[in-house]
Symmetry: C2
């Protein structure tokens, strides 16, 4: 059995989180795991296709209760949803904007409210906004399927969900990495140019993950500098300390 | 705090394990994490520069005792050492071949002996042999440093340590992924051609990690097929079960 030798970064989200370890992608999860090696373990808690309603019971399962012993602390929790919640009704993935925002608030309270069974005041939280949708790419991808599907997301709706994430982050005073705005500005505010960062109009490619990782590290540096990998001691000593006796 | 929702794959080794998540490298660790997403967590327990003597106390710390509760099971443990132990004496990293082999034996006994405080009969173990050294590349790399260093490894010695790993795997009847032989044969048994798989004569590049990952998955398929990612159920249900629910 594995001893609890390192605390963790938990990445909770949808397919854009789950895909963050994909080889050759510079996925943000693999980059975190690389940079935090020998300091914090990075747990992939990405749930492809999930919206925040479906993810709520999973989120509770991923959090230990205050009675549990021998479990690692979550030093950093990234929460990255919205891409599926923003599906257009009657898609089964659709969650209304107000419910989406309310789910995010509830999740933060689960961790930060003293009366929660999952209360963990030292867990730092960063909310991440969903990437902008390139409906040109997305439509083409869906129409190429067998059977073809019609467009399930639109640009303006996802933008509203991204703004909802920002509002919750400000209200709850947690960290915020604004992937929506970063990719939109890097694309020159041109929807079709988002294909530089998205491989199917919805999911990030290597360039998109690279910008995400850099922005996330900037949020950590600005908001929680004690959690920057440069500021954490290694769990086990460097080998030179043995070699030099 | 993080609940124990998934068991783990623990990758214990030296820098070649620690570097297995490097972005753009197709590192075997990142690939395992990607393929086992939503099934098993993959823990990087690579310790750059360590030999098996220095790693012994760290290994014990990484294993829970049989009394610990709420800790995840190690379903698969990869052990990948030898590259540093094989340094030529009087390098401080040198560990004699007989001591190296004895350390590996002791580690397996720590997990598989019923009288061990870390006894875990369900933990499957795979030993991995160190890659062959390309002394042409390695010499050049060391001579380019400031101050320049002289060659610290030779081809034949590392080969003997790789054979030692095989012998322990056979004796203890655990899995064995023979990275030494795989890379040697893929190089046409030509030392200089190993540069296709090593970036500095010692550490794997993306191509080297790709062959390693494929070979490791083949070992899992042959020896412990129940642990192949295709044969493990997901921790949380697929989203379609909600959508159709």
């Amino acid at each position: 059995m594995a001893a609890n030798v390192q605390d963790v970064i938990m990445c909770f989200g949808d397919s854009i989180t789950q895909g963050g370890w994909e080889p050759g992608m510079q996925g943000f999860g693999a980059q975190l795991a690389h940079r935090y090696a020998r300091k914090l373990d990075v747990l992939n808690r990405g749930l492809s296709g999930y919206n925040t309603d479906w993810a709520t019971p999973a989120f509770k399962q991923c959090l230990a209760t205050t009675n549990d012993e021998n479990v690692p602390k979550i030093r950093l929790l990234t929460i990255w949803f919205g891409a599926n919640d923003a599906c257009i009704w009657p898609s089964p993935q659709h969650v209304s904007l107000s419910k989406f925002v309310s789910n995010l608030r509830d999740w933060i309270d689960l961790v930060h409210s003293p009366d929660s069974h999952h209360y963990s005041p030292d867990t730092r939280i960063i909310l991440i906004s969903p990437p902008p949708v390139n409906t040109y790419q997305r439509r083409e991808d869906l129409q190429s399927r067998d059977p073809p599907k019609s467009l399930d997301r639109d640009f303006e709706t996802t933008k509203k969900y991204a703004e909802g994430v920002r509002e919750v982050a400000e209200e709850k005073q947690v960290g915020f990495t604004d992937v929506w705005t970063i990719l939109w500005e890097a694309s020159g505010k041109d929807e079709q140019s988002l294909s530089r960062f998205l491989y199917d109009g919805l999911h990030l490619n290597g360039e998109g993950y690279k910008l995400t990782f850099d922005a996330l590290m900037q949020t950590i540096q600005d908001k929680y500098p004690e959690l920057h990998f440069d500021n954490l001691p290694p769990t086990f000593p460097p080998w030179l300390s043995y070699a030099e006796g």
